[in-house]
Amino acid sequence: MTVLTFTAVVAIVSFVAGLLGSLTGLGGGVVLVPLLTLLFHVDIRYAIGASLVSVIATSSGAAAAYVKEGFSNIRIGMFLEIATTFGALLGAFLATRIPTSALAIIFGAVLLYSAYLSRKPRPLDQRNLPPDALATRLRMNGSFPDLAGPRSYNVQHVPTGFGLMFGAGALSGLLGIGSGAVKVLAMDQAMRIPFKVSTTTSNFMIGVTAAASAGVYLGRGYVDPGLAMPVMLGVLAGSLFGTRILVKAETKSLRLVFSVVILVLGLQMLYKGFWGKI
């Protein structure tokens, strides 16, 4: 393949990944690395470097739109970023020492888990939870505009959430993904943050987390300009387009299709990882 064809095809695939990722809320980064390695036979380390860069672009690009809605909580975000950035540094450090077949296996497992999570209905927001002492001290409780006016919430289980966020950061640094699935686990399930607040706050954190490991990847020579260019531009354009048409799109069937794609890619990554073909 010539550079021109390669750039064009990778840009189109990245555009579709970014579009589907933002329409389904599952993130495009999680399918990029498997697509680049399985379809284009890109070395997984180059693929992770390019994906990580695109994760920053999507997160920062969408931030302005999310901020307007007024759901995100910058205190929860900043406190948890201590955990995610520290984890991301560790993940990026480990990535340079782990064999590529092990990276593929971990990636496969994360994909299977994401596919499972995307089919599971979200637990209903629990309302009227009592204030937690630590969360109150950390000034995390807040309110957000709901249909019936402002609705306040009390954050729960801060240490568990913090620990899980460290894990999310480590996976992000190790695999070059946004780790949305683990963040959902930490913020929705453990900390009981309402869905709207947790999604927007998580988006706000993903860029900072990815920036912590991107520096390490770039410095180690894992970010190739010829590959990262079409991936970053494609994913950014796709996700911006996605947020624009989100209101009109029918996302239920899209979510099903996308989670089947994630499942198939996960199985492929596991297979290739176990047989040492990556």
Binding site: T2, A57, L236
Partner: protein, 144 residues
């Protein structure tokens, strides 16, 4: 009861800290900062792409074997040097460096926001995050 679903025309008196007017204003500024940073970096990457593709379009693309980037594409002085030499891929890496710098700038500006609100605890938290980010950027070989 701090939690209620009843319509409330006034902000909750129990929650003066979070989601206050100042918080909102800071968030809007930061959100716009992030978007401008991304658009600027995308423009730089795109212009680098034009130079790169105009010169190398018909070469073979092969990323099967990992070689690692040369120092001109993985250190800040190297990237600046290759941009000054008019290299397209140097320009792409400069755009990517700007992209990485955008969330870091957001964290730095948050310190100012928390300082205006006299929230010392969150100034400290934000400083910790900024220190980790700067360490990753400068301590990993990018600076040299």
């Amino acid at each position: 009861m701090p939690s209620t679903d009843a319509p409330a025309p006034q902000p909750h008196p129990q929650e003066p800290q979070s989601q206050s007017w100042d918080d909102r204003r800071i968030e809007v500024i930061l959100g716009n900062l992030l978007r401008s940073g991304v658009l600027l970096s995308a423009a730089v990457v795109l212009s680098g792409a034009c130079v790169y593709l105009s010169r190398h379009a018909h070469e073979a693309a092969d990323y099967r074997i990992f070689r690692g980037e040369p120092s001109e594409f993985r250190t800040i002085p190297g990237v600046i040097h290759s941009v000054l030499n008019g290299r397209g891929r140097g320009l792409i890496q400069l755009g990517l460096l700007l992209l990485i710098a955008t969330p870091i700038a957001r964290v730095a500006f948050s310190i100012v926001g928390f300082a205006i609100e006299r929230d010392r605890m969150y100034v400290v938290f934000t400083l910790i995050v900024l220190a980790i980010l700067l360490y990753s950027l400068l301590g990993s070989g990018l600076g040299v």
